[in-house]
């Protein structure tokens, strides 16, 4: 079966007086309904690889294929449109818009995509919050929530447009152990829905929950294998 995400010789060099290589020669396939973690020491290029996969950054070498579609020749607008439809992002910090309610934050990507009517967006938003045990907080603002609740809201937002791929960058980095395990469990549950989840994490215990581990050192893949 065609991989949902593929990289071929992916590289990213930051220009400057002393160029910095963030990622080098990364060739990976990600299957549908899979859960992969990217690990490695600090500065190994984990987040940089994630951003390249999610079309948030532009590679200086190689290419990313999204469901078979090459992205190298895409301009910013095309990458943005693909990002909107194909990817959901969960960052270390929730990045919720403080002036909007939990439900409005979840609906943000849906409103941008514009495929659903207002009642349909509300219904889908509430369903996502319900699945993440956040329905009662739907009309609260982010500053009234705990860290774990904010991160669950961010997960709901990431799923708003029903993306086939969810990318998470240290999603539990700012959470306590209990909330961290809960969020990772949620991410694991997305795989059962048929999504591809790729997460960057330092946490070895949580990394063990994934099916596949990709280990980076100095921007290169040094280990890539399935886990028990």
């Amino acid at each position: 079966m065609k991989p949902v995400l593929r990289t071929v010789g992916l590289g990213r060099v930051l220009p400057g007086p002393v160029p910095v290589t963030l990622v080098s020669e990364v060739t990976l396939d990600f299957a549908r309904a899979s859960f992969s973690v990217i690990t490695g020491p600090s500065g190994s290029g984990k987040s940089s690889l994630l951003y390249l996969l999610g079309l948030l950054d532009v590679p200086t070498a190689g290419e990313v294929f999204v469901d078979g579609t090459p992205t190298a020749a895409m301009d910013d607008a095309e990458r943005t449109r693909m990002r909107l439809a194909a990817f959901g992002f969960v960052f270390q910090f929730h990045f919720l818009l403080p002036e909007f309610t939990v439900l409005d934050n979840v609906m943000l990507p849906m409103r941008q995509l514009g495929r659903l009517s207002a009642p349909e967006m509300r219904a889908r938003g509430m369903a996502l919050l319900e699945a993440l045990d956040m329905a009662e907080q739907a009309h609260k603002r982010p500053d009234a929530l705990s860290g774990g609740q904010r991160q669950r809201t961010a997960v709901a937002r990431a799923l708003a447009n029903d993306p086939p791929v969810v990318l998470a960058d240290e999603p539990t980095g700012s959470l306590d152990t209990r909330n961290a395990a809960a969020v990772f469990s949620v991410l694991g549950g997305l795989v059962a829905e048929g999504r591809t989840v790729i997460a960057v994490t330092h946490d070895e215990g949580l990394a063990g929950m994934a099916q596949r581990r990709i280990h980076l050192v100095d921007g290169r893949v040094v280990r890539d294998g399935m886990q028990e």
Partner: protein, 412 residues
């Protein structure tokens, strides 16, 4: 567009005080624009109305715009001939066949015409001389071509019809001379005519040139004193439709050859001054509106800086650069729109208040006039909104250029 708008409004709501300050800046600019341009326009309309009411719409004189070609020039059209200092053949001059011209003009629909003889006159009273322009009129016909009757403060213009020795003058001139209704005044003309006239009417038009420099006598008396029997050197015309002044003047010149000056030509200097006044007032008040735009620039720039993380997340979830620009442009537009609406209300209030103030130098009871038109309200709004868009544009572009990764990486 709804998503950028709702984000824009949310940003503004989160900074209520700064938003209100920016809105107030725009509102003040709009209200000052409406009040000041309206005051200027009100004054100009009043002045223009006085000019038009107190004077004929078209004046035909015994002059020609260009002297007729001389026989020598006609004889040698290809030669280098210049004839200068052409003198009129008839020193008495006047409009030939004035009666026929008057009849023809009066027969035109919407046209009223009256004959006059204008000449210089010296008024003497209490040992002092006052040089004035004397206009000999048929009071019945003249009242059809000017609204001078409404400016009469004492006596009447019609009295010239029953008192051949009557004179109607401006009240300011009479006060300067120390004369009043019923008093006699010695008069003299360049033709050697000396006489005594009795004041039978006093007017005040508000136009200094007329109030101090012009008097009216009966046409017959004027023709006698100026030694120009049966001469008419001006025909005063009033039109039912003021916009026909220029076409009618051109028709008269084309048909009879005499110079016919529409009021726009007669008072061209005044109109030029009005134009200069408008340039100054619109420039000044428009500048105030532009300055208000700096307030909008300030608040949008602050929001862009503070919302860098929000911009990053909006971009990361798929909001295109254009929508980010639209968001911040809409913030500027929202502040501009609120300011314009408040400014319209404040401008209307200020104009209404100004209209209660007495008009300096005018008759008691007269107040200032502020001309409020849809154009002035529309123009104030348009300048304010344009200023708002321009002010929001630069910070909006900066927001769109924000690299989401640099923000996301910085937050991690």
């Amino acid at each position: 567009m709804m998503l950028p708008l709702s984000i824009a409004l949310a940003h503004l709501r989160s900074r209520r005080r700064q938003t209100m300050v920016s809105v107030l800046g725009v509102a003040l600019g709009v209200s000052v624009f409406i009040a000041m341009t309206g005051l200027m326009a009100g004054f100009q309309n009043f002045f223009r109305g006085q000019l038009i009411d107190s004077n004929p719409h078209v004046v035909v004189t015994d002059e020609v715009r260009r002297p007729a070609p001389q026989p020598l020039v006609l004889l040698h059209p290809q030669a280098a001939v210049e004839v200068t200092r052409i003198l009129p053949r008839d020193p008495v001059r006047g409009i030939a066949n004035a009666s026929a011209i008057l009849d023809a003009l009066s027969a035109m629909p919407g046209v009223a015409a009256a004959p006059t003889l204008r000449g210089q006159m010296l008024l003497r009273r209490a040992g002092r001389d006052y040089a004035v322009s004397a206009i000999g009129i048929d009071p019945v016909l003249e009242m059809r071509v000017t609204a001078l009757a409404k400016d009469m403060k004492q006596g009447s213009l019609e009295a010239l019809g029953t008192r051949p020795d009557g004179v109607v003058m401006g009240l300011p001139l009479a006060e300067k001379m120390g004369a009043g209704l019923g008093d006699t005044i010695s008069v003299a003309t360049a033709a050697g005519g000396e006489s005594v006239l009795r004041v039978v009417g006093l007017f005040r038009t508000g136009l200094e040139q007329q109030d101090l420099g012009q008097v009216y006598v009966s046409l017959n008396r004027q023709q006698s004193m100026q030694a120009r029997p049966r001469v008419v050197n001006e025909i005063h015309i009033r039109l039912a439709d003021l916009s026909r002044s220029i076409p009618i003047a051109e028709l008269i010149e084309g048909r009879w050859g005499y110079k016919a000056a529409p009021w726009e030509e007669t008072f061209a200097r005044v109109l030029e001054v009005f134009l200069l006044q408008n340039l100054i007032i619109y420039g000044t008040t428009g500048s105030i509106l532009l300055v208000a735009g700096f307030g909008i620039f300030n608040i949008i720039s602050t929001v862009v800086t503070e919302k860098a993380r929000d911009i990053a997340i909006m971009r990361s979830v798929g909001m295109p650069r254009g929508s980010v620009v639209a968001t911040f442009i809409m913030e500027g537009l929202a502040v501009g729109a609120m300011g314009v609406a408040a400014g319209w209300l404040m401008g209307w209030g200020a104009a209404s208040l100004i209209e209660t103030f007495p008009a300096p130098g005018a008759d008691p009871g007269m107040t200032l006039t502020v001309a409020q038109t849809p154009f002035s309200y529309g123009l104030a709004g348009a300048i304010a909104m344009a200023s708002a868009v321009v002010a929001a544009w630069l910070p909006a572009r900066k927001a769109a250029r924000t690299d989401p990764l640099s923000i996301i990486r910085g937050a991690a």
